[in-house]
């Protein structure tokens, strides 16, 4: 009972279904944890009253046929939630209360879950450390001086600190997988189009994808099943039959071919990352998988390509935050143009401004061909690299990040070194593929490290299966001292 919140989602679901615990007790336990964890700064908004009411409602009339029966969930504050403030970590949306619910969160609620609160994130999901949020940086439960990763840093921190049994994030260039890796949790970026983007505050439309963040691979498959759907309201949504990822989860991976791309052994990569990768290969090999060396020759262009495409789309996506219809409006300025300038100067933080400027620049006439168009061409080549490899292998194994969680403030004045943190995650978004980050070990400081499994488009089941088998044989356990409470 006492330790219910440090259990996995699937264990908690069992307890709810077998009536070992009520939804109300569960919710109260999480509320207590959250109130004791203010230091982590993981939440922007809490919805305790609403959650308690929903829990009681569930207990009065329990429906245990659902995927997430009676489960309170906190979600990244990038998902629009009906009548609950949605900020995207930005001052410009500090007062914004949507009248609508994002498709992904609605799917969760339709599967029996309810909202516990909104989780901090980098402003408009632009960041790798959750330090760009208007609501302050989030602290990694692993250590009080460490970043939780970003942009879904509130999500990873809350999950690792037992403030929510599972959560969802969004991943544009690694924003689910990198924070998962930094906190010793599981994070999945699904195939582009598997989860609807409708109602998610947009960063870069062609790259944004929502996904689950959980304690176990099984939890991850449950959450993915609950949140994904075809959505007519999103033109890029994929129309396919829903899959039962959790029911079909298997740990037999004998005979599967795992690609090892040589280009992911980057210069100056810490030795322990290399060792972690070797460890991962050995586990999979011992499970009967076949390791195959592959080449993804355009990998080195992925990061610069990403930092053209993503800011370009962002510069346009963020044009709507102009102070005219909703959100923050500066009271200064004598005409429309000055109102725009002051609103956006005061409303956006530095990182967002930096990316708007980069994006505006690469789209301007005279530079479009040299930057944006070229980046789109390179993006096709990156995608083709993966397509070619997937004719030979079932999945690809790489490290998730080039380092473990870094110190708060360590990279804030060096955007390029911050951007380099996305080096292993970004190619996947450019290619629209699914990728799973799994906790795989600790570095010498005792900080978690993750490995990444990349799959073919819509091949989530396979990478979940490999992850499931890996998890059982890896022996990783997240032991976090609750120093904050």
């Amino acid at each position: 009972m006492n330790n219910i919140t440090n259990q996995s989602l699937s264990e908690i679901l069992e307890s709810i279904k077998s009536k070992k615990i009520s939804s109300l007790e569960l919710t109260q336990a999480y509320i207590k944890n959250i109130e004791n964890a203010k230091k982590l700064n993981a939440f922007v908004t809490t919805t305790f009253d609403q959650a308690l009411e929903n829990a009681k409602k569930f207990d009065n009339k329990p429906n245990n046929e659902q995927l997430l029966s009676g489960i309170p969930l906190a979600v990244k504050d990038l998902f629009c939630t009906e009548n609950v403030k949605t900020t995207a970590g930005s001052n410009i949306l500090n007062n914004f209360v949507p009248s609508y619910e994002s498709t992904v969160t609605k799917n969760l609620w339709n599967n029996g879950a309810f909202l516990l609160g909104k989780l901090n994130c980098d402003e408009f999901a632009m960041g790798s450390s959750n330090e760009t949020s208007f609501f302050g940086n989030v602290i990694n439960p692993i250590g009080d001086h460490l970043v939780p990763g970003g942009s879904s840093g509130g999500s990873s921190s809350a999950l690792a600190a037992d403030l929510t049994p599972a959560t969802i994030g969004t991943d544009t260039g690694g924003s689910i997988r990198q924070p998962a890796s930094f906190t010793g949790t599981v994070g999945l970026k699904p195939t582009y189009g598997l989860c609807s983007r409708w109602g998610i505050v947009a960063f870069a439309s062609s790259l944004d994808q929502a996904g689950p963040m959980t304690k176990t691979v099984n939890d991850c498959s449950i959450m993915l099943e609950a949140m994904s759907s075809f959505d007519e309201k999103d033109s890029t949504s994929i129309n396919k039959k829903k899959e039962s990822y959790s029911k079909n989860l298997k740990d037999n991976i004998k005979g599967l071919k795992i690609g090892i791309p040589k280009e992911y052994r980057v210069d100056n990569m810490p030795k322990e990352i290399d060792e972690l990768w070797e460890k991962g290969k050995k586990i999979l090999k011992d499970l009967g998988a076949q390791l195959i060396d592959i080449s993804l020759p355009h990998t080195k262009y992925a990061l610069p390509t990403y930092y053209i495409v993503a800011p370009a789309e962002a510069s346009s996506n963020l044009a709507r935050y102009d102070g005219v219809r909703y959100g923050y409006r500066s009271q200064k300025g004598k005409d429309l143009i000055e109102m725009y300038e002051n609103t956006r100067s005061e409303g956006f933080g530095d990182e967002v401004k930096r990316r708007i400027l980069i994006g505006t620049y690469v789209l301007s006439s005279g530079y479009y061909d040299a930057y944006y168009l070229k980046a789109q061409k390179v993006r096709q080549l990156i995608k083709k690299d993966f397509d070619d490899s997937f004719t030979k292998v079932d999945a690809i194994l790489t490290p998730s990040t080039p380092s473990s969680a870094f110190k708060i403030g360590e990279k804030t004045n060096d955007p390029v070194s911050m951007y380099l943190n996305d080096i292993f995650t970004v190619p996947v978004n450019l290619a629209g593929l699914p990728a799973l980050s799994l906790p795989a070990g600790l570095d010498k400081q005792g900080y978690p490290l993750g490995l990444q499994l990349i799959g073919k488009a819509l091949d989530e089941q396979k990478i979940l299966n490999i992850g499931y088998a890996f998890e059982k044989n890896c022996g990783y356990k997240n032991e976090i001292k609750k120093w904050w409470s």
Partner: protein, 489 residues
Amino acid sequence: MSKEKFDYFINGEKGKYEVVIGLEVHAQVLSNSKLFSGSSTKFGADPNRQVSLIDSAFPGMLPVINEECVKQAVRTGLGLNAKINNYSVFDRKNYFYADLPQGYQISQYKNPIVGEGKVLLDMPYGSKEIGIERLHLEQDAGKSIHDMDPSSTYVDLNRSGIALMEIVSKPHLRSPDEVNAYIKKLRTIMRYLGTCDGNMQEGSLRADVNVSVRKVGDKNFGTRCEIKNVNSIKFMQMAIEYEANRQVELLEDGKKIDQETRLFDTKKNETRSMRSKEDAHDYRYFPDPDLLPLKLEQKLIDDLKKSLPELPDNKKERFIQEYGLNSYEANVLVSEKEISDYYEEVAKLSDKKLAATWMMGDLFAMLNDKGLNISNSPISAKNFAELVQSIKSGEISGRIAKEVFEIMVESGDNPKKIIESKGMKQQSDPKELEKMINEILSKNKDKVNQYKAGKEKLFGFFVGQVMKLSGGKANPQLTNEILKKLLKG
């Protein structure tokens, strides 16, 4: 038909100039809902009553293409004899303005849905083909209202997101008259197709006008100026007239024309510089990542082609062939679909040629007088056909027909009923007429003698007497014949 010569030139001291005009017409697509949202497109609603979360660009909202708008664009393209592109792309055109909620307009830039086509104009100097460069789909912006409050601007987003077709002509137009004919022809085609109502008062049809001048015989185009957003044909013509003369004056003075965007001031009847080429917006076009490229299956295009109504050019040819009309008549009668429908209904029931004459004469004059159009004509096509038939059969004379027509307009009654109840039927019985004529001749023996003695002018006097006696109903042709016969005897 005698052909006039084209003569729209501007004479300067240093030579004779011709005017080169190209139009970018913005036609509002007829559809129930907007291009990327389900909001209504009905005109005249209270401000901000037809605005969805998508139209007002709330966070996380995504556009979804309205298939009907795509079909309307394809139909229009087919009506312009244009190439339909199976692959087209929606781009974002980025700029900030208070009535542009997204901060960008979704438009089509490099890959429009419709490519090159052509429109045929009937000018007094012959028919002229105007090339179409392209047609693309785009969103309309909202409306900024600056005059409701002294210190604030109000924004109405009802129009925001409504589908527009931008139809770009090649620089093939050479005079304000050709512009008039071109706009009218485009409007006619789109009304036939039901793809745009062409209502310029409601802003359903507006145009940007590109004007340049060059000396007659020059191969190269002059520097052009673009006159933005002109919303009536009359203003387009006035703007072109002013702008072309302004450019000629500059050239005559040895000055250069700056490529720029200009506004037409309808009160002062002049164009004014809005922004120069250097100040032109950098719209940072790029493909909208929220929308997939638009791929049209050939079958859809073929099916739409098969279901197209008969278009004015074909109908005109058919009217000439089938109804024996001349080119001018056919042109007038196909200018509006409703007119052509009315005519065909009348022609089915009556003499085709006479029907055309009477429609283009008395009917149009009456509608014009009363400010009506053919669809709310007080005379139904069926009644009109009966009137035409009564004239043709000799039941009433043309002169009586005009009286019957007047009564039809007032009462809406059937002409047969009017003719009978008012006893207006023409006297065409030769025996009756002979009796009447004999009576007149016997009363006017002196005049008969004078006529026989050679004063043939008196023939008119006898006709007049017959008409007087018959109350105007005597069949004039028969009267003439019988009179001549009896006067000879």
